[in-house]
Point group: C2
Chain length 113, copies 2
């Protein structure tokens, strides 16, 4: 079965893309949970955090840097934001392609979970 996020990265499926460079794509979540809700993915398929190897460290670190850059573009750096990676069933991971949620634009709840 084709991976939806691979298809978004390749351009085969349309998405509201906010950043694309260096093997990373960032696009708006179709069901936003906050005023800013952007997903940042590696173009190359990695199933999830549990599958990250030493060889993936650069691109995974880049997801965080690009998420921070997207936050800057959204104008929410000063007030702050939350980055979330869900792994597996307990966390509600819905697409088996590693993705960082960038959430912000309003105060975010504590406790964290």
């Amino acid at each position: 079965m084709a991976c939806l996020f691979c298809q978004i990265a390749s351009g085969e499926v349309a998405a509201n893309i906010v950043y694309k460079s260096e093997g990373v794509t960032a696009f708006r979540d179709v069901a936003p949970q906050a005023p800013t809700h952007i997903l940042v993915i590696p173009d190359r398929h990695i199933a999830g955090a549990a599958e990250v190897t030493s060889a993936d460290e650069v691109v995974v670190g880049r997801l965080v840097r690009v998420a921070a850059e997207a936050a800057r573009m959204e104008g929410i750096t000063d007030r702050g934001y939350r980055l979330i990676i869900n792994q597996g069933h307990d966390a509600g991971q819905s697409i088996d392609h590693l993705h960082v949620h960038l959430l912000g634009g309003r105060p975010l709840p504590t406790p964290l979970v």
Copy 2:
């Protein structure tokens, strides 16, 4: 003012350390919000996600890999877990030293925020 997490990384302040290697330290949160609540930090000071540069990508990616390794050690990989980075006021970032929260051991709430 001394940074608490720099002091934990250097061993100057004690913590319940679960992993230490390759410029990364993982230790249990003193006020756990889930059955597993571990913090993963770069030993070298990075203030937060907003300060991550291209030169930091390897160590930041390593935080995710080590968090996944800590989850494996906790036996929660199969059921899943959530990784969270808080940046700034809206997210409730409390220590200005980049840290990944590893949270798991029970079903985690949705929506995410």
